[in-house]
């Protein structure tokens, strides 16, 4: 795998409400997450997966289309199968964020502004609110505006543009789809034609858990997101 700066597809997977769980439950969820990812990633182009504690960052040495189809679909299917083994209160619910852009890898991890975007769209307050408003959902798929404009809107593969709706989260435009719902069940009551606006939380802070460590900052710069992720495997 060439580690130079190049256009790569990025998938961020985050477990909902992971911080509210006990440590043994977190461990069980992590095991389940890797179980869900394992099968789905098997057929994907060369990629690298980094652990985020309550999620993963996967960077693909490919364009973004195969991440959207079939990977996201397969992940949703594998998640459905996993959650069928537990009662709904114990469901693992995932936020899946997809973006692409120029990223590079140095000895400490991935570097690139595209990563910041990927993390921000998946951790936005609006995205979390939509998933909260959909108790029967098991996941939410969040695309950056760039991904939507480039791949989804033109109708490539079986991506069904009509199942996405846009969301303005802290001034950032993104597109969301909630598998199982014909249209995302946004709680704001905004008309479908208007993007849903979600105000940013008063004090912006971002927590990243990696290899058991938690990094908290009021912003993610251009290169700091992956610091501390350890050597490449």
């Amino acid at each position: 795998m060439d580690l130079g700066t190049r256009n790569r597809a990025i998938l961020v997977v985050d477990i909902e409400k992971s911080s509210e769980r006990t440590d043994p439950r977190k461990a069980a969820l992590r095991a389940a997450l890797y179980g869900v990812l394992g099968g789905a990633l098997r057929t994907m182009p060369p990629h690298r997966v980094d652990d985020l504690g309550d999620g993963v960052l996967a960077v693909f040495d490919s364009d973004v289309l195969p991440v959207l189809d079939p990977l996201v679909g397969d992940l949703v299917q594998a998640l459905w199968r996993h959650n069928a083994t537990v009662d709904p209160p114990e469901w693992m619910r995932l936020r899946l964020g997809v973006h692409f852009g120029l990223v590079a890898r140095d000895p400490h991890g991935w570097v690139g502004d595209a990563l910041t975007t990927a993390f921000r769209i998946v951790n936005g307050a609006g995205v979390k609110a939509v998933l909260r408003a959909a108790p029967r959902a098991q996941s939410i798929v969040v695309l950056s505006d760039a991904v939507h404009q480039t791949v989804v809107r033109p109708g490539y593969a079986a991506l069904q543009p009509e199942t996405y709706r846009d969301l303005l989260d802290d001034g950032r435009r993104m597109w969301i789809r909630v598998p199982g719902y014909a249209t995302p069940p946004v709680a704001t009551g905004a008309p479908a034609a208007e993007p849903v606006r979600v105000e940013a939380p008063p004090a912006k802070s971002i927590s990243i858990k990696a290899r058991g460590n938690v990094f908290t900052a009021d912003t993610i710069g251009t290169v700091d997101a992956r610091v501390g992720l350890g050597p490449a495997s």
Binding site: P70, G73, V76, Q77, W80, R81, A84, T85, P88, A134, R136, A137, A158, Q160, T163, V178, P179, G180, Y181, A182, T183
Partner: protein
């Protein structure tokens, strides 16, 4: 498995209550019971039946006997055990009649339970063209999946719809007509709809235009639909290309076996292991996956291997059923049976597997005699010897065993020696073999089963019914005309049970469901309480082939009667429906509506149903020493909830379950004809509350609400005071309840 003739639920051949108009002459078709010299005594009125809690136990035993009969013929050893589950509505003194095996892998019409969807997801193995199916369903919302029977169509459909439709999945009534885009189906957003079968004539005349209209409806509603078709469905191929997806040939049978094997291990709390971890399975697995078996059989094989790992079965048991040589070994065994005595016993044991040896032997003798008569018409030529065959030889030759089993009779539990095949799947094999290979025997076996359907033993007549149901899978119409309808026409409780037994297995077959629905509708025609009408009403309460709304609509028509036989059947059906958690709301709504009807007979039947629910239903609640009355518990659940759901629909109005229960109890307490029995029930509740203080406060709150609905607590106060004064009366409970009435400030 005792002879229950004396204690059996009686027929209401004549109304003996105060409802004189309900009296009727003995049925023309009434026949002498096999072992009853005297004519059947007159039964009690519908009201007496509804207010007698011992009948709840019988209703439960009927359901249990039915489940055991089905389990026995499907090869589920051990049948259905007693399952006592807290916080679930059951029948008085009976535990829970419904078990997880209730639908035996089939899908009931109406909302599909979340557990069924989850079970399908856990073990699902994607067919090769799964993605195409998924994409088509996402894209066009309506897909016709065509695949041969046994391919795994239903599992695939449940998985797809469950995944794509967050609000759940409904199985559409099998008589839904796709040719009519205006068919009355309430489509909801993010909900999936499964039509499990499409009849030949409907498939043949289905046009693209109709499907386009359905697609538009589905799109507008935000719903999706999958329609399952057999491989031989006669479609207008070219016209429907856009909607039809053929199921790709199943290529990975091993994965399917493994999936069910592992799901069983995980469910038993064991680690997920691979089949290769068990070298003793290797040869058998290779052999079985090399055959072209149905998906259901492969799943069963996987579960069987899991049972071996869990120590619940031996690998030989599994081999006995699935190995390639099993079929020929079985044929050799049957063909080598020395004479009709043995063959008759083999058939009798197939029908009555797991029942007392004496019962099986008696039935076997009956059949042997019938065979002999068929072969040697001159009765003087009979040469049968009473001491011809020793039991031990017979059992050994049958590859059967004598074992002890515990059964709960009307008088309590008792142990009995029962005979059963060593191979739990043999009963079905024997019956199917006889039916397939020996057409000359059809008439004899059919007549014999028909006679068994009139047996005074509940288990025997239900087993006979289920056996007829199994045989009817290959020729339903034949069985309907020659056995099922004659049974129904007897217009007797016993044969009615045989009818329901006979319909249970066919009702699990998607392709037979539309026929059964149509047959029931034919039976329901008219207004008299004919045998067919009463049987249809009884069947609707237990067969999972109609939506609750469809059942209640038909029951409403039947309930407009003054014939006790029909009123009892309606009340039993309503009681059975109310035991299904997702059917209670519509049942309460229907009773609210019926009990306010302008038709006196309908009102009367509704109140009779309410009385029966009040008497029959109970719930075991954690922390209580005594079971709660079912409707008290239902009402109290709402009281404990901050914002109870208004799920009970009456016309355009929605109400909570508590409000519905309060109204219904108030109405039955106010109705002059039912008042006496209704207050006797309240008396029972008070006595229960005397023993179980946990029920006093909820009961007080309910009675206060009921008093408000009836316009005042004076009568209740009077009764409570009177009951408390009686010797060893419920003084503490009555005081608490009177205090509750005061506290709730019910105007005097």
């Amino acid at each position: 498995m005792s002879d229950e003739e004396a204690a059996e639920q009686p027929e209401a051949g004549a109304g003996t209550g105060s409802d004189d108009s309900a009296k009727q002459a003995p049925e023309d078709g009434e026949k002498a019971k096999p072992d009853a010299a005297a004519p059947e005594p007159e039964g009690p009125s519908a009201k007496d039946t509804a207010s007698d809690a011992t009948n709840a136990r019988k209703l439960h035993q009927d359901a249990r006997a039915m489940e055991n009969a089905i389990a026995s013929l499907l090869g589920v050893r051990g049948g259905v055990g007693n399952v006592f589950v807290a916080n679930t509505i059951g029948l008085v003194d009976a535990g829970l009649p419904r078990t997880t095996g209730f639908h035996h892998g089939s899908v009931p019409t109406g909302p599909i339970p979340a557990e069924a969807l989850r079970a399908a997801a856990v073990t699902f193995v994607e067919p090769a063209n799964y993605r195409e199916l998924r994409d088509r369903l996402r894209d066009q919302r309506l897909v016709l999946l065509r695949a041969p029977s046994g391919w795994g169509r239903t599992a695939t459909a449940l998985n797809l719809l469950g995944l794509e439709c967050a609000q759940g999945v409904d199985k559409l009534s099998p008589d839904t007509d796709l040719r009519s885009p205006a068919a009355p189906v309430d489509l909801e957003a993010d909900r999936g709809y499964l039509l499990e079968t499409l009849e030949f004539d409907q498939a043949a005349s289905l046009r693209e235009f109709s499907l386009d209209q359905w697609r538009r409806r589905l799109t507008e509603a935000g719903a999706r639909m999958l329609v399952l078709l057999g491989a031989d469905a006669p479609l207008r191929e070219r016209e429907l290309t856009a909607y039809v997806v053929d199921g790709a040939q199943r290529s990975d049978d091993r994965t399917l076996v493994l999936s069910h094997f592992q799901a069983g291990l995980v469910a038993a709390g064991r680690p997920r292991q691979d089949l290769v971890d068990f070298p003793e399975f290797t040869e058998l697995v290779e052999e079985v996956v090399g055959r072209t078996l149905r998906a259901g059989d492969l799943a069963d094989f996987g579960r069987g291997l899991c049972a071996v790992v869990l120590g619940e079965a031996g690998v030989d048991d599994v081999r006995l059923r699935y190995a390639r040589g099993a079929e020929s070994a079985f044929r050799e065994w049957f063909d080598s049976l020395p004479d009709n005595e043995y063959r008759a016993f083999a058939v009798a044991l197939a029908v009555l597997d797991g029942m007392p040896l004496a019962t099986v032997a008696e039935a076997g003798t009956m059949l042997a005699r019938a065979i002999q008569e068929a072969e040697v018409p001159d009765l003087r030529d009979r040469t049968r010897s009473v001491f011809a065959v020793r039991t031990a030889n017979l059992v050994e030759r049958m590859e059967a065993e004598i074992t002890l089993a515990v059964d709960d009779s009307d008088l309590g539990t008792l142990a009995a020696e029962v005979a059963r095949y060593l191979d739990p799947h043999r009963p079905r094999k024997v019956l199917e073999h006889v039916w397939r290979e020996y057409t000359e025997a059809h008439g004899v076996v059919r007549d014999w089963l028909r006679d068994l359907g009139s047996s005074p033993d509940r288990h025997v007549r239900i087993r006979a019914g289920v056996a007829v149901g199994l045989l009817s899978l290959s020729e339903f119409d034949h069985a309907r005309r020659h056995v099922i309808e004659p049974w129904a026409e007897e217009n007797d409780y016993w044969e009615r049970q045989a009818v329901i037994g006979a319909l249970r297995l066919p009702a699990l077959q998607p392709e037979l469901q539309p026929l059964i629905n149509r047959m029931i509708d034919q039976w329901l025609k008219g207004s008299a309480a004919t045998g067919r009408r009463v049987a249809a009403v009884a069947a609707m309460g237990v067969l999972p082939i109609m939506t609750t709304a469809q059942v209640l609509k038909r029951l409403r028509r039947a309930a407009d009667t003054d014939e006790p036989r029909m009123i009892i059947a309606v009340a039993d059906s309503v009681t059975n429906l109310s035991l299904e958690p997702d059917r209670l709301d519509p049942v309460l709504g229907a009773l609210l509506s019926w009990s306010r009807s302008k038709k006196a007979d309908l009102r009367n039947t509704a109140l009779n149903c309410v009385l029966q629910l009040v008497v029959y239903l109970q719930v075991s609640e954690d922390g209580s020493t005594d079971p709660w009355p079912g409707l008290l518990w239902v009402a109290d659940l709402d009281r404990r909830t901050r914002h109870p759901a208004r799920g009970v629909v009456v016309g355009t109005r929605r109400t909570t379950r508590r409000e519905a229960v309060v109204s219904l109890v108030a109405r039955v307490l106010e109705a002059p004809y039912f008042m006496g029995e209704a207050y006797r029930v309240v008396h029972q509740w008070v006595k229960t509350a005397e023993r179980d203080p946990a029920q006093r406060e909820p009961l007080g709150a309910l009675l206060a609400d009921v008093a408000r609905a009836t316009g005042g607590p004076a009568t209740l106060r009077l009764y409570l005071t009177e009951w408390a004064r009686a010797r060893r009366g419920p003084t503490e409970a009555a005081s608490a309840l009177l205090a509750a009435l005061d506290r709730e400030e019910v105007p005097a």
